[in-house]
Symmetry: C2
Subunit: 317 residues, 2 copies
């Protein structure tokens, strides 16, 4: 029988993890600091953690980054020896908080790459993660049992696991998640500055490019501000590219370099998504298994399932 | 019986105009410089224009901006007295080209705000413009018969008409169409620079924010480069906003001003789209009708239908 799952934080992501794990037949319970009318929800976070300790559950931290430290303090108090993972949008700050609050914890970080611009328990869905990438941090010193528990949770939730380090994760999501949110904010504000006429004329490119700005600002801020260093680097790169486009448009009138690079990049995304893949078995008892798995993640590969002590990966051909 | 419609250029937009006008019961024909296997397509542009002259058709210029001048030269040669409109993505350069090639032409510019990231005749659809905004340029000296013919075409195609000047149009689309394409290019390239790992982790925010970069670069370039002055102004505003975000993130770690402004702007878009509207009748025989119509457009309003000499507008409440 599989380990129960205890989800702390029941917003869009935590609420979806609880539902998706239940769909897979896992015993699930959880708690949040807001009222959630569901029989699986304990009255307080402390009560949920005490139950997790009794049932040896996997604890999933599913609160925004600013609330993580307080949850970890409660974990240290009520359930210090449980296996631990999280679904927070940045990984180095969570890893540092775990090392501070729970030194020696059996922890592997996680991040499902799925979302919606609506938030809260009611917006959650059991199928939110189906086919999505779900990062599980795979450091040299990640405990094998915590890693495996986090991977099993992700797979049970319908996701595919991308093994990588917290650092590589944070640099990548700065580019493909946090920068998109900032550019969407800049685009939305610049568009609205054109008044009702401009908004009335807005069609697909503006609607798509600003969609994520429908999200509650607190959630976007927690995510972006929590990844300050990597996001600064990504913003600087974007400023450089936009400035170069500006210079080219002003001087020669041409934007070919910018537009062609953007088109090639978009095709690279579509190619990766449409690519055939070959299956790669990785022996988890191999001392270099984590290195092999990280290489798989770097190459755009994912773990599709576990088969005993073998992780079955898929690498785009 | 309504005037026939002659569409020159049968890509995504021109091909959709032809199909949509046919759906409304209009007689349609056209031509393109590529092979299109359809009985309504004349063998050459010259042949289509000669037929337009014989049948007193409304001519619709539906080629990318760089090809407009050559089409107008042929119009001047074969059908100089036909009513004329266009569906090109910028309006001041087209107006200037018309004044140069066909001084005194009965012309009103048009721009349907609809598109797809696929292009070409095969991608066209009769319902592409249903409910979309369709700008009809409404200058002091726009001939009333040309204005009315362009409006009727837009309404027949299922769109709602936004009356404004070429100058106001170009400034607005720089913000809500051309800037989104440039930011999408910058985002796509910055994301792809993160390699296969970053692209593998890309989810909704990146996929949505880069979608328009699937479009053929030639089309994006024709559109953006053709609106150089207004686009430069929009890019400078975006650079200023992104630079301010960068400075704030670097100095205080905070992005609240940027994200909250973006959220408010997105809500303004959603509010405008969801707003109830009141009907405003505009008497087209009134000497100030065009001024009233431009005010309607500036306020986010649209013309929904013509009723004799009255344009029925809708203004968001």
């Amino acid at each position: 029988m599989q380990r129960p799952v205890c989800v702390i934080g029941l917003g869009l992501i935590g609420g979806s993890v609880l539902r998706a794990a239940a769909r897979a037949g896992r015993d699930v319970f959880g708690a949040a600091d807001v009222q959630v009318a569901d029989p699986r929800v304990e009255p307080t976070v402390a009560a949920a953690l005490a139950r997790a300790a009794r049932e040896d559950a996997l604890i999933v931290v599913a609160v925004p980054l600013p609330a993580v430290d307080e949850v970890l303090r409660l974990v240290a108090e009520h359930a210090p020896s449980c296996l631990l993972t999280d679904v927070v949008s940045v990984k180095e700050p969570v890893l540092a908080a775990v090392e501070h609050r729970l030194p020696g914890a059996r922890f592997a970080g996680g991040h499902p790459m799925a979302g919606r611009s609506v938030s809260g328990w009611e917006a959650g869905a059991a199928d939110l993660f189906d086919g999505a990438a779900w990062v599980v941090t795979t450091e040299e010193d990640t405990p094998a049992d915590a890693w495996r528990a986090a991977v099993e949770l992700a797979l049970d939730c319908g996701a595919q696991v991308v093994p990588t380090t917290a650092r590589e994760h944070d640099a990548a999501v700065a580019r493909i998640s946090h920068l998109p949110h900032l550019l969407a904010a800049v685009l939305a504000a610049t568009g609205a500055e054109g008044g009702s006429l401009a908004l009335s004329l807005a069609a697909g490119s503006f609607a798509d490019g600003t969609r994520v700005m429908g999200t509650r600002p607190e959630l976007v801020l927690a995510m972006c501000e929590g990844n300050r260093g990597p996001l600064l680097a990504a913003v600087d790169e974007a400023l450089g590219r936009l400035g170069a486009a500006r210079g080219s448009l002003a001087s020669t009138g041409g934007l070919a370099a910018t537009v062609r690079a953007g088109h090639e990049a978009r095709l690279a995304l579509e190619d990766l998504r449409g690519a055939d893949s070959e299956e790669i078995p990785v022996d988890l008892t191999d001392p270099e298994a984590f290195e092999t798995l990280r290489d798989l993640g770097t190459a755009g590969g994912r773990v599709l399932r576990l088969d005993g002590d073998t992780a079955i990966g898929a690498l785009p051909a």
